[in-house]
Symmetry: C2
Subunit: 456 residues, 2 copies
């Protein structure tokens, strides 16, 4: 059997998923509903439609349907860069001298450099279908903004991106890629919105945060006719779209009769992790199979491992609905390290509920150890990984080394979310010994919890 397993498993076109899988349909405890921040009542579809496209609102609220068909137009777009390969990390295994079998699902072979495109094209498609002129969004590290720009260019939709100011300044090339795809990119906080002006007045010289950029993008979407807001992570709809990662992974493994023991993903807002684990989690919930599922987050922004499970604001400006999730508090700003896209204060409500209910584990890792794993991986597997993805690499290596000690031949699957071409400043800091490994103290974390909204 092993002889026939290719080094990289690519599904054939007719083996690719035709529907997304919605974990919520199988969940015993459904994720808590989004709440109106004023009334603290569950957001109705009508309320949500002021912010999001109608069809996406249906997906956001759908806790019933396990499978939702992927429209043909989106499947056609997926063909541009999917299937993504499931790669057996033979070289890494050899280097580690481990009996473990390591596979990674590589989502970086597209110009956005990450898995973000899977949901970007879906959200842009529904906006286009609804006859909208354009969409607004925020971006931190830049992958989501790039992905959305690509999707909008393809569908000829306008795309307004609020980019966290520090990234806008430190990553001019990311900005330029979005420009290639015709997006307008504004550093956040900006003078173009009420909330931006308010934040600038309160914190002159601030370099921005994801929560702040979200507030600006939402304000513009709600206030501009023909526009809606789109978000690259956290939301239920994003977990749904990203399930294409896990469905492909499972199909590829099933094709060769491989059963994973451990599934590992990095977690910021949860978009990749939620997508990667989706069908496996479904089996686990239904009692059909068991897997160890591990979320890996930066020690500097430890939502799962040191946050609280509570209703919180999704943004700094407090204009968005409240979500029940593992959170560090909406004011939390992590240390200026390079966890990149994993710096969000909250976590997907779906994943939060699953973690709370004991279906998955979480662990946190420091940046230097992450980049050590990144470099080790790059040298033997050839791919220059994104810092985000390297959190998963770190734990995959650690688990493989445990197998070396015990002699167990476990099968480990991890999500390699993207490439690090735009993160060379971080690699440089690592090489120069300037990586910031700061871990927030309990006192610091406690401080940010004081601002959690009161919900009965």
């Amino acid at each position: 059997m092993t002889e026939k397993i290719p080094y990289k498993i690519y599904l054939e076109e007719d083996e690719m998923p035709k529907s997304w899988y919605n974990m919520r349909a199988d969940m015993v405890n459904k994720p808590a509903p989004l709440l109106n921040p004023a009334t603290k009542k569950p957001m109705s579809a009508e309320e949500l439609e002021a912010v999001f496209c109608s069809e996406l609102v249906q997906q956001e609220l759908d806790n019933e349907n396990a499978y939702i068909e992927i429209p043909q137009e989106i499947r056609d777009f997926y063909k541009m860069y999917r299937p993504s390969p499931l790669v057996r990390a033979y070289c890494l295994e050899k280097k580690l001298d481990t009996p473990a079998k390591i596979y990674y699902k590589f989502e970086g072979n597209n110009t956005s450099g990450s898995h973000k495109l899977n949901s970007a094209i879906a959200q842009a498609y529904y906006a286009k279908k609804q006859g909208l002129k354009g969409v607004t969004t925020e971006t931190g590290a830049g992958q989501w903004g790039t992905a959305l720009s690509m999707a909008c260019a393809y569908l000829e939709l306008d795309c307004k991106v609020y980019m966290v100011k520090v990234s806008y300044e430190q990553k001019p090339f990311r900005r330029e890629v979005m420009r290639v795809y015709g997006a307008s990119v504004t550093p956040s906080p900006s003078e173009t919105t009420q909330v931006g002006r308010k934040i600038l007045a309160a914190h002159p010289g601030t370099t921005g945060s994801l929560g702040c950029a979200i507030s600006e993008a939402v304000e513009v979407a709600v206030g501009t006719p023909g526009y809606r807001y789109v978000l690259g992570s956290v939301l239920n709809q994003v977990m749904l779209h990203q399930s294409v990662i896990g469905l492909e992974t499972k199909a590829a493994l099933d094709k060769y009769g491989i059963k994973p023991d451990i599934i590992i993903g990095c977690a910021g807002g949860g978009s990749n992790l939620g997508g990667l684990i989706a069908p496996f989690m479904g089996e686990k919930i239904r009692g059909e199979a068991d897997y160890r599922i591990i979320a890996v987050e930066p020690a500097s922004c430890p939502s799962f491992t040191r946050g609280v499970f509570a209703y919180d604001f999704c943004d700094t400006g407090m204009v968005c609905p409240l979500a029940k999730m593992y959170t560090l508090g909406s004011d939390f700003i992590p240390a200026a390290n390079h966890a990149g896209g994993l710096r969000y204060h909250g976590m997907s409500p779906v994943l939060s509920q699953l973690y709370h209910d004991g279906y998955m584990e979480a662990t946190s890792v420091t940046q230097t150890r992450v980049f050590e794993a990144a470099e080790q991986f790059a040298r033997v597997e050839g791919i220059l990984p994104a810092p985000e993805s390297s959190h998963a690499i770190r734990v995959a290596i650690d688990e493989a080394l445990k197998c070396k000690e015990t002699g167990e031949e476990k099968t480990i699957v991890f999500g390699l979310t993207g490439t690090g071409y735009f993160d060379m400043v971080a690699y440089e800091k690592f090489h120069d010994g300037n990586m910031d490994d700061y871990i927030p103290t309990d006192e610091e974390l406690a401080k940010f919890r004081l601002n959690l909204p009161k919900v009965d």
Copy 2:
């Protein structure tokens, strides 16, 4: 039939080439031999072995064997990123509203971002096999240096890269990627070599050139025990290794009964073009099939279209052997535009002979038109192309538009050599209208020809 052709054609592992194809075996007029610059006599194997690994010298001189087996170790490395996909550019065709069928062979899905890895691993492998400690090389735009660093990291060989100073300064991220892979990178010209010091004395403040970096790398290789020099283009051995591109392309087309009418590649030193066209050229020479084969070069560095076919130095320092090739003169330095890796003054002797003998066409394009094509391609096909590759895109689009006029359903195949992530400064110049479209005058080109060496 068409129904069954996948959007992206990936060969199965057992369909991948097991041998490289050596065009020279089928060429009617063989490429002229390299000459010793002092004696003007053909370089013997012994002389070449002072510079190159022994097995590569054999490949360099081999005009007889049509197929040379790819060692298993290299084939294992190829599996890390090969087969590369042959993609049907459906979206581009639709956008152009052309009856032409456009395919591109995409070589950018690896961390070096280009096809250069195909020869880098081969050259590093033979160096390792010979028991060497390390290799030296030069890099301009940085793709070759990155590729070689990756190959050397994999084989645990030392790698010393001389990087053209202007690129070293303008592309710190490229430099940093090489550092991830453990290479030492020196800006050229440097004080570390005799030839570097000489050039610096003659031209203080020079930002360097490829020809100058070659001289430095060769000097270090020849003067350091256990080291040899490796080169990413121009050489016969490089054309041989790169034939894997064309062999895969042909296997993929043959699998679905597709016969191309036009094959297009960008041309700097000729590494991608020579590889892409190899098996097609073989058929053409042997009279088994006919194809239009088009080399595309930058108007700023027009070796084929405005150079002369003559013996010339391969480097600025005049320490390398003489090669008979289309050349602009070894002192030629193109305008400071962003043709990137296509700025070399000469051209592969193999391709030069084939062009001279009428087996292929050549055309040149200006930078603005290249970037227009690049952006158009990026928006519909998703991939952000390298400036080099975009020369081929430009002509592929032009040919497809001609088909639109005539109604012909031609099949066009072009080589998409790599990605443009490290070239965003060039894209920025294009967007800001600052692209330099300078074309050298006849008088300027004539001046550089005065320094051609005299060979009887």
